[in-house]
Symmetry: C2
Subunit: 193 residues, 2 copies
């Protein structure tokens, strides 16, 4: 793991928010995944996209390529994901994503992930051990108050200090309890799928 | 024409910005067109999309349907287009768009459209008279200073008073010389195509 310690977190820090679109289960094999570049919590600077398989094993690799091939890559300081499961149970291994992009990764969810339920669900899928390992690689589930003392979200981190990740979530959650880049990535991914 | 006179223009007025994606000429028959709902010049509220034919005649109809079928339709107060030509010379008739959506329409361009050049180009296409009529229906080309006294854009309007259209462009051009909804629609349409 390459752990980035931020000397200072600028208000216009370039962050990437990644989310997937809605999909009708089994009807479509590929689901659009959208990455949105924001300056802090205010300005949209860019959009990138890729596609991943429903319940596939390619999310980590596809999101890594999307980031590395983007013209925005050099400006990015942190990657934020809407949780670690995309397109069903296509699990992103945030340790791998951190190592391959050399960027800190923060996975954010509104609700606390229920690991027991996830473990049960994975058992019905091929390569369930590999998926479970990626879930565990996301590490401890930490609670963060973002926009206010009543708006709490959960995060899992890789390659970044807990303190820095907390600050980045607080700085970028300008419009809701989650970072603006993630809120907008969700709207775009839903709007194009 | 249904001409809307605004009693007051709220800072969070819901506007739609519409732009098309980049495309390789002749290789693709359909080009994505993205509509982005903004609250004034600050917050993205929604995304919708449609597809139009390269050099086709369906842009007015497709954009009308996209708007009327959107869950955001009732909140929208004004539609802004990046010019009146989409996907090559698929011309949007802003008078028609105004009548069918019952929403004021403002077409915005950074540069002044060169009508002589457009007229010449249209002659090489089928239904050139219909296209030219739509170009003329866009009406007078008006200049507006948006974000500052050095940032000028051009607009053509339908169903709205010139004074109100000027105010809306000034209010919503928060990040560049064009309204934020149009700047972001361009980034999204380019990022997904």
């Amino acid at each position: 793991m390459t752990c980035k310690k931020f000397r200072v977190i600028k208000p216009e820090i370039r962050v990437l928010g990644v989310d997937d679109g809605v999909f009708v289960f089994h009807r479509k094999r590929l689901v659009p995944v959208v990455g949105v570049v924001f300056r802090g919590g205010y300005w949209l600077d860019g959009v990138m996209h890729t596609k991943v398989k429903v319940d596939g094993l390619d999310a980590t690799e596809k999101i890594t390529s999307m980031i590395l091939n983007s013209p925005h890559y050099k400006q990015l300081r942190v990657v934020m994901l809407n949780g670690v499961t995309f397109a069903g149970f296509n699990v992103v291994d945030i340790k791998q994503l951190n190592m391959q992009t050399k960027l800190p990764v923060i996975a954010v969810t509104r609700e606390k992930p229920n690991l027991t339920e996830i473990h049960e669900a994975l058992k019905k899928l091929p390569e369930s051990e590999e998926r479970w390992k990626a879930i565990l690689n996301a590490g401890e589930i930490l609670e963060v108050f973002t926009r206010s003392k009543s708006e709490k979200v959960c995060m899992q981190i890789s390659g970044i200090l807990e303190e820095d990740a907390r600050k980045i979530l607080q700085l970028t959650s300008t419009r809701s309890s989650i970072p603006e880049a993630l809120r907008v990535a969700h709207i775009i991914a839903s709007g194009i799928s």
